[in-house]
């Protein structure tokens, strides 16, 4: 893998790190399987790209894109809580509706940002080569996002949210307003995903109606890879391992892309990625089993 490709891998890894943290909030903290992200990733990108083309300040555009994605999360929460629609189905409904909304937002299926000024433009004059600058920028965004999420989960409010996820009834009995936590959690989650979409559009020069497909799979894979690396109960480490998991996922894709010398074809990419991610998942498990066996052997 060339340096350039490696930096590109990191860049996309950090951006999808934001997505992974969003997925972590719903799947792990709130125990709310939320597929809205397939739509809200595109919504964040679509909104931001459209506003930038209309010459709105890129930072303001990114902010509005993030808020729009967060409100998509609120819709899912509302469908689930107000009308008792099963969480999975509620999120699928929102995701389906978002496909149309994204097309409406953009007015066409693809908005190009090549040659437009983006959030990266002010940093281009710093004299750091673009390939490094992009990575540093998204790394700062992802790590800052991670710190904020971790901090949030350590607050009283965040603790209450964690309680809702692990035992709704118990939380309610302790005077926690459950519904409010679900609303806030889904908004936060989809906001992070939308921010990821907004950054992806700006670093890659386009927003496309198909770009959200499979976001949930990538996000979930990153969360689980991250978890399997660190068997810890620390919230801080778990949140940060989402970013690391996302980067590892992208490295797996990169390795799959570079595997043609082994006789693989372009169409084998998905299988190779799946195999590499599976290896990343089972390796820590095999290692701990091996350790346990060894320990047992010593006892005997």
């Amino acid at each position: 893998m060339s340096l350039y490709a490696f930096l590109g891998t990191l860049e996309i890894g950090f951006i999808y790190g934001l997505v992974a943290m969003g997925v972590y909030l719903t799947f792990r903290i709130l125990d709310f399987p939320d597929l809205t992200v397939d739509g809200s990733f595109t919504l964040g990108a679509a909104m931001t790209a459209t506003l930038i083309v209309m010459e709105v300040n890129p930072f303001l555009s990114t902010f509005i894109g993030t808020i729009a994605a967060a409100s998509a999360g609120l819709v899912t929460a509302w469908l689930n809580l107000r009308f008792n629609i099963l969480h999975l189905l509620a999120s699928i409904l929102t995701m389906t509706a978002l496909y149309t909304i994204n097309l409406r937002v953009m007015g066409k299926p693809n908005v190009a940002l090549i040659m437009e000024s983006t959030v990266l433009t002010p940093f281009e004059s710093l004299g750091i080569p673009a390939m490094y600058m992009k990575v540093i920028f998204v790394a700062v965004c992802a790590i800052a996002g991670g710190l904020l999420v971790a901090w949030f989960l350590y607050t009283q409010y965040g603790l209450a949210m964690r309680a809702v996820g692990s035992n709704k009834r118990m939380a309610q009995a302790n005077g926690i307003v459950v519904n409010e936590k679900v609303y806030v959690g889904l908004a936060l989650s989809n906001g992070l995903v939308g921010l990821g979409g907004a950054l992806f559009a700006q670093t890659n020069g386009f927003a496309d109606s198909t770009m959200g497909i499979g976001t949930i799979v990538v996000g979930l894979a990153a969360v689980i890879v991250g978890e399997s690396l660190f068997a810890t109960r620390s919230i801080f480490v778990t949140v940060m391992s989402c970013i690391l998991g996302s980067i590892l996922y992208r490295i797996a894709v990169s390795m799959a892309l570079n595997a043609d010398f082994l006789g693989f074809q372009a169409s084998d990419l998905n299988l190779l990625t799946a195999v590499l991610v599976t290896l990343a998942l089972i390796f820590p498990k095999l290692r701990s089993e091996h350790k346990a066996k060894k320990a047992k052997g010593k006892e005997a």
Binding site: F6, P109, F200, T210, A266
Partner: protein, 319 residues
């Protein structure tokens, strides 16, 4: 004397070795958004054009990656390619081309099978675009397509078009068709199919409302065109297509680009750059050459006859 001849042959050997070292193979990195017969044909056509111009075997390194339909993978592929420092990057279809153009500062990018390169902001203008990007647009000649349908059904009033509203190429093609149809007094009935599993239902929606069904150049529709053909046979509504490859899969007829030939035309641009021309000095080309494919058996099953005049000018008759 002997010494001199040894010396001479040594120089000769050195010169031979040197020249073979200097003739570094041309390194062409190709990326496409998804694998699909038309896009694969473009890739093969490019390779053919390179071979015809003496780039092949030892002096050509040709790599190919598909993003499996995912823009995030397309962007990762673009970064891998720029890092591999090829002589030229070829990007097939819009999102792959956008990712390549954003990523590559100096490596020439040649795009192909992009319908509207201006809207995709790949180039600022079509004539002498400047910068490191040029390529080939496959904007379809939709007027000819409608005229073809009319030659089958002289009193054509309505045409149904299944399409994926999420596909850039398809939407801009639909816009062009609507404008042209209005001039010819034909009504267009749209039917949206966002996924290939929706194509069958989208086609069924058109039954009873239209005289003919036209499948535009739309990756989603084409990937499931058999379900449109089936509806056409069951309801006796002839199905036409925007690309000729689809005729073998059951469309009655189509005028279109031979995507292999489109790849060849793209390859010609690539060769010009390899020979030293600057991409910025090469105009973005509109694809040339129209083929007419006819499938008389299908026409019969869908309840119409192929006019003699069409059969006479067909470039290929599918049996």
């Amino acid at each position: 004397m002997k010494l001199r001849s040894i010396f001479k042959s040594a120089i000769l050997v050195a010169a031979l070795v040197g020249s073979s070292l200097l003739a570094k193979p041309a390194y062409i990195a190709t990326t496409a958004i998804v694998e699909h017969p038309a896009l694969d044909a473009v890739r093969d056509g490019i390779k053919q054009a390179l071979n015809d111009n003496g780039y092949g075997g030892e002096n050509l390194k040709f790599t190919y990656e598909s993003a499996q339909g995912k823009p995030d993978i397309a962007s990762q592929i673009a970064r891998k390619m720029v890092g591999d420092k090829p002589d030229i990057i070829i990007a097939i279809a819009t999102p792959s081309a956008q990712a390549a153009v954003t990523t590559s500062d100096s490596i020439p990018v040649v795009f192909s099978a992009v319908t509207d390169p201006l809207a995709a902001k790949l180039v600022p203008r079509l004539e002498k675009p400047g910068g490191n990007v040029t390529g080939l647009s496959d904007m379809a000649n939709v007027k000819e397509h409608l005229e073809l349908i009319k030659s089958f059904i002289p009193n054509l009033k309505t045409v149904g078009i299944p399409y994926n509203p999420g596909e850039t190429n398809s939407v801009s093609m639909l816009g062009a068709i609507k404008a042209e149809a209005a001039k010819m007094g034909i009504k267009i009935v749209e039917s949206a199919a966002p996924k290939s599993s929706d194509v069958m239902i989208a086609a069924k929606q058109l039954v009873g409302k239209v005289d003919a069904i036209y499948c535009p150049i739309d990756n989603t529709i084409i990937s499931a065109v058999e379900s449109v053909v089936k509806v056409g046979i069951d309801a006796k509504i002839p199905v036409f297509a925007g690309d000729t490859d689809t005729v073998a899969r059951g469309a009655v007829a189509a005028i279109g680009y031979d995507y292999f030939d489109l790849g060849r035309q793209t390859g010609e641009i690539v060769v010009r750059i390899l020979k030293g021309e600057k991409p910025g000095d090469i105009d973005v080309k509109m694809a040339k050459g129209t083929n007419l494919f006819v499938n008389p058996k299908m026409a019969e099953r869908m309840g119409i006859q192929v006019p003699e005049e069409v059969l006479a000018r067909a470039t290929k008759i599918i049996q």
